[in-house]
Symmetry: C2
Subunit: 343 residues, 2 copies
Amino acid sequence: MGTDSAGTEQRQPVMADVAKLAGVSHQTVSRVLNGAPHVRPDTRDRVLAAIRELDYRPNSAARTLVTRRSQTLGVVSFDSTLYGPASMLDGIERAARSAGYFVSVTSLRSLDGRSVQEAVDRLRDQGVEGVVVIAPQTSSVSPLAKLSSSVPLVAVGSGNQTHVPMVSVSNGYGAGEATGYLLDLGHRTVHHVAGPANWLESRDREEGWRLTLRAAGAPVPEVQRGDWSARSGYQAGLRLARLDDVTAVFCANDHMALGLLRALHEAARSVPHEISVIGFDDIPEAAYFTPPLTTVRQDFGELGRRALELLVGELEGAAPSPAHVQITPEMVVRRSVGPPAWR
Amino acid sequence: MGTDSAGTEQRQPVMADVAKLAGVSHQTVSRVLNGAPHVRPDTRDRVLAAIRELDYRPNSAARTLVTRRSQTLGVVSFDSTLYGPASMLDGIERAARSAGYFVSVTSLRSLDGRSVQEAVDRLRDQGVEGVVVIAPQTSSVSPLAKLSSSVPLVAVGSGNQTHVPMVSVSNGYGAGEATGYLLDLGHRTVHHVAGPANWLESRDREEGWRLTLRAAGAPVPEVQRGDWSARSGYQAGLRLARLDDVTAVFCANDHMALGLLRALHEAARSVPHEISVIGFDDIPEAAYFTPPLTTVRQDFGELGRRALELLVGELEGAAPSPAHVQITPEMVVRRSVGPPAWR
DNA sequence: GGAGGAGGTGTGAGCGTTAACTTGGCGATA
DNA sequence: TATCGCCAAGTTAACGCTCACACCTCCTCC
């Protein structure tokens, strides 16, 4: 008959429905929902009961519209299939949730700056309050400075970028530790299987390796360049196996180290008796390689967590701190290293 | 000096600002933005120019409020640090983006049904239009049926759940292939390192293995139970190495196979000469194990993509298809298998 | 040449919430 | 007893967008 209440209305209940049922105004419902003071306990209870009865859910779009806060953070990542990015994402998500934020992710299809730009824009259009960028490529760092003006932004990765708040692992330090350890064992020098040239991690680890060799007065062999994959490590291994003065190799990550181990095995070069190998990351499998891999552990989850803390701090604290958090990696010694063979 | 225009207002431009600048009504701006017909080309151009000049961004919360569409999908995953879930997430994100959706993720802290419930609720409160659940544990499947009434939902994993649309890999088939291959090579039977008992994948692979042995009249050895980690595979390997009638082992995933290889190597049991090993997943590193691992490949990215297609279909097509998409895995033969040793 | 239709645009209402005011009690203070 | 102030509510106005409709101008057709 009338215009309303034509029986069983199927639409979602809204605040007004709750208010009517509880016999209060919608504003009081809002107050209860937001934990505002000055609500009489019995009133609160009536409202809560009505909410439960109707299974009422606040509409987040409406709330966002008026408060201008979406409670959502964005994450831009590159290849979230890799162990590192995946773990960081996981850390970020956990930290975000406990800070009361949702996480919206988007992954990059290519490495260029425009792609990062697009991804951040996309996230921004969706209304995220801040963005964490996991994109440690040289090409994607410079655009960040511009972007950060449009939306609070934190980078996670490597490098000494001054413009953007960032949390990173001391890759150079870790690489130095690994290289130094091998030199201390008595190796004349240490070869290096590096990551892609345009990754900051890659560059920093290479630099750490190089500086340590120089400081020790050791010769600096030619770098074998890989792309983080086991496949590329394998190929680097085949090349290194042809040289016969190789007694120690530092790989920029564990996956390449795995490939290297494979290649050395095929070339009948014993690890660690003839050649020592150190990786980087300490992926969960590293301890089960043949032989178990000595490596430099970095805590990806912690990295993500810290990045999120930084972002939330920037968002909620008034301080627009352009901080740079450094996390120190730690070497884990396993059976893939030893003193050089006497011969 | 009225109430408005006190100089350089810092607030974000809204549709009305664009309209004023272009000399049209806000509705025309909306039409241009949404590609509505019946807008004269030069009007459109003026509007577009105004948008660019002001760097106007539509407010998604406002749009969502009125259209009741958030353009956002939720993903619930368990341990997105693992290669499988991470790859699926990646596939889902890519597919979602090309279908015009954002992706909001949340990961489970524990396996129980209540935890899944909470995660989905959380996502729903945020206003997602649908949810993909990557949670192939037995404990989390039953709650899904109830949940699916409140929001469109698709599961990805395993099992023959009838209540919820799902996309899964034929785990039983893959396990059967692997087991059959080993039997065909002449092995008397095949041992099995299984995954956690409460995972559907685990259960289905174990069942495929068992059925194949039975069908071939082969004895069914006791199952070694692991937890997907290389560590647990290693421990299972130590146990199996003590038995001396073991000539073939099928592992429920590649990581456990890695641990197994390690244990067998330490026990001086040669693979494949004394013992053949097959894994499951074909992670990128499997080809570089020592020896390279024969395994059953499943395309996680494809899995995620298909799950998303299913969800979007349910969302946009009128058909509430309670489909069940099956993807067939494929065996990849490498050097970790061979005929049993004669002795 | 007036009716009808289609293209092109403007007007007003409403989505569901929070923010800012307003209102009405009631006890404490002067 | 009149006044102040605090508590506990209610009322109204945004927030920025889309939808439904009204309107105007041509053009076509009989």
